[in-house]
């Protein structure tokens, strides 16, 4: 039985924001799900092979994962299809963000200096994701690759060793984060995800 309701209809109802987490095999995919639940969202983890027409959500998060962006992007399943077809906001985390940038005509590849664990983030543009948050945050990283060119994205945050830590597409509702807001050690991580969830209703 299919009783799908449209994106707009859902927004008019007082249901919690429904955000599905696309699992790209990350160590912290389950953490994204947990934090989304904690901030009051209705959330569920789905494999990245789920057909786009079976997805019934207000927003998506593309999780991080072990696949290397330059030569393992087929392991990211149907993520490109979601970027093509999904109606609501999409947040790409780590390799999810890298794929988003590549899809939009940018470039990603191995980092000169990868970042693991603690890094100091400087917010350069508050936009939606960093609304009301301090300009400097201690965040947790875990990446071998990074975005080199983010075409049509406004850069929102940087770190010493990575100049594209967060971005927002200039036209589409695409948000991307290279660090890991879902990890408990990241300062204000839950608020960043809450800010993303709030973009659904703000539309």
């Amino acid at each position: 039985m299919t009783s799908r309701i449209s994106h707009r209809e859902r927004l008019n109802m007082s249901n919690p924001v429904k955000i599905h987490v696309i699992d790209n095999g990350g160590q912290w995919t389950h953490r994204i799900w947990r934090v989304l639940k904690e901030i009051g969202c209705d959330s569920k983890i789905i494999p990245n092979t789920t057909p786009p027409n079976e997805i019934d959500a207000d927003a998506l998060v593309l999780s991080g994962g072990a696949p290397r962006i330059a030569w393992e992007s087929p392991k990211l399943g149907k993520c490109i299809d979601y970027l093509k077809n999904f109606e609501g906001p999409i947040l790409g985390i780590c390799v999810g963000f890298q794929l988003m940038a590549v899809y939009c005509g940018g470039k990603a590849g191995p980092s000169e200096v990868p970042e693991y664990g603690l890094a100091k983030l400087r917010v350069v543009e508050e936009d939606d994701l960093f609304k009301g948050l301090p300009k400097e945050l201690l965040v947790w990283e875990s990446h071998n690759d990074e975005i080199k060119v983010a075409k049509d994205f406004t850069i929102l945050a940087v770190s010493d060793n990575c100049s594209i830590q967060a971005g927002k597409h200039q036209e589409k509702p695409y948000y991307g984060i290279q660090f890991h807001p879902e990890v408990n050690n990241t300062e204000h991580g839950a608020e960043i995800l809450r800010n993303f969830a709030n973009t659904v209703k703000a539309k």
Partner: protein, 323 residues
């Protein structure tokens, strides 16, 4: 409606879990317990669902901490659980003879654990086997798209053929949530606040071959690190880390004891701050406390240990345990 905070609902979780377990388990069930937060919480939940039909099996692997088997047996019995202690020290020591690769070690331990549980299950005519598996265990064990970080003894270390059905009531919870459930189930604070201890025990805190002699060294070093840190916490010198222990490194260094050259082992002390074990920052322990640990370990373990180091690695890039 904007997103607002939702607190983990332990009473609801308990109610659902007990109902689910009561429907799923028929007859007798065996649970592997260690005396830690996860397995004890799972045991209490299953106990609520099936009562007297639950048998708790505590395996003495020979890689438990100082006095741990005796203490845990007493603790579990006090909670009204039926405890069967299996002395498998020699079997574990034999199984790990010559094994130095961390993954091989974890798999060997996982398999032997299951064989021991199977024997008990057969004796007790149990068709169900309960484990206190929590989320990081299956996440880090990998599978499908997810890379294997380490084979947890209760997931990735399981053999392919198993003679019973496995039940894991805490599978989607993290340690901090299990503690809330444990508290809600009226476990004593010493239990639900207990620091994590890996299933394979001290065997993964011995880098290289887990010989009985190496187990003796790391057991003593762990006991000293734990005691000194707990003393410092009680004295208000520091807050209690999420996890704190000692590891025996697979290398030797030169030292001098009473004008005589010695060539002894190195002990690494590790302490971390975390919520759920999925990420961690190393603990900024005061140097005076580190010094007391170092002096006591080197003096107590004499010629076995010539040096003590403190680990300042976060997770990532390091994991909390070493193997």
């Amino acid at each position: 409606m904007l997103a607002c905070d939702v607190v983990f609902n332990a009473p609801k979780f308990i109610e659902d879990a007990v109902k689910d377990l009561a429907g799923k388990i028929r007859g007798v069930a065996v649970i592997g317990v260690s005396g830690g937060v996860d397995s004890t919480t799972a045991a209490i939940l299953v106990g609520r669902a099936i009562g007297d039909n639950l048998r708790c099996v505590l395996v003495d692997t020979g890689y438990m901490r100082k006095n741990e088997i005796e203490n845990n047996q007493t603790l579990l019995k006090k909670l009204g659980l039926k405890v069967i202690v299996v002395d498998a020290k020699e079997r574990f020591h034999d199984k790990l003879k010559g094994v130095t690769d961390p993954e091989e070690k974890r798999k060997a331990i996982g398999e032997l654990f299951i064989r021991v549980f199977e024997e008990v299950a057969k004796r007790e005519k149990a068709k169900f086997f309960v484990q206190g598996t929590i989320a990081p265990d299956w996440i880090e064990s990998g599978g499908g798209l997810r890379d294997k970080i380490k084979s947890h003894h209760n997931v990735g270390g399981l053999p392919e053929k198993i003679a019973f059905e496995i039940v894991e009531p805490l599978r989607d919870l993290y340690k901090d949530e299990v503690r809330i459930v444990g508290k809600e189930l009226n476990l004593p604070p010493e239990l639900y606040e207990r620091q994590p201890f890996p299933g394979p025990g001290l065997a993964v805190r011995i880098l290289g071959e887990a010989t009985p002699d190496n187990a003796r060294i790391v057991r003593e070093a762990c006991a000293i690190a734990e005691e000194e840190i707990e003393k410092a916490v009680a004295n208000g010198e520091m807050s209690k880390p999420w996890q704190y222990f000692a590891v025996l490194l697979p290398c030797k260094t030169v030292g001098v004891h009473g004008d005589v050259r010695i060539y002894g082992n190195v002990i690494a002390v590790r302490a971390v701050e975390s919520l759920d074990g999925m990420s961690a920052a190393y603990s900024k322990i005061p140097h005076t406390v580190l010094e007391r640990i170092s002096v006591r370990i080197t003096n107590t373990l004499k010629d076995d240990v010539s040096r003590v180091v403190y680990d300042v690695t976060n997770k990532p890039p390091g994991t909390i345990e070493y193997e």
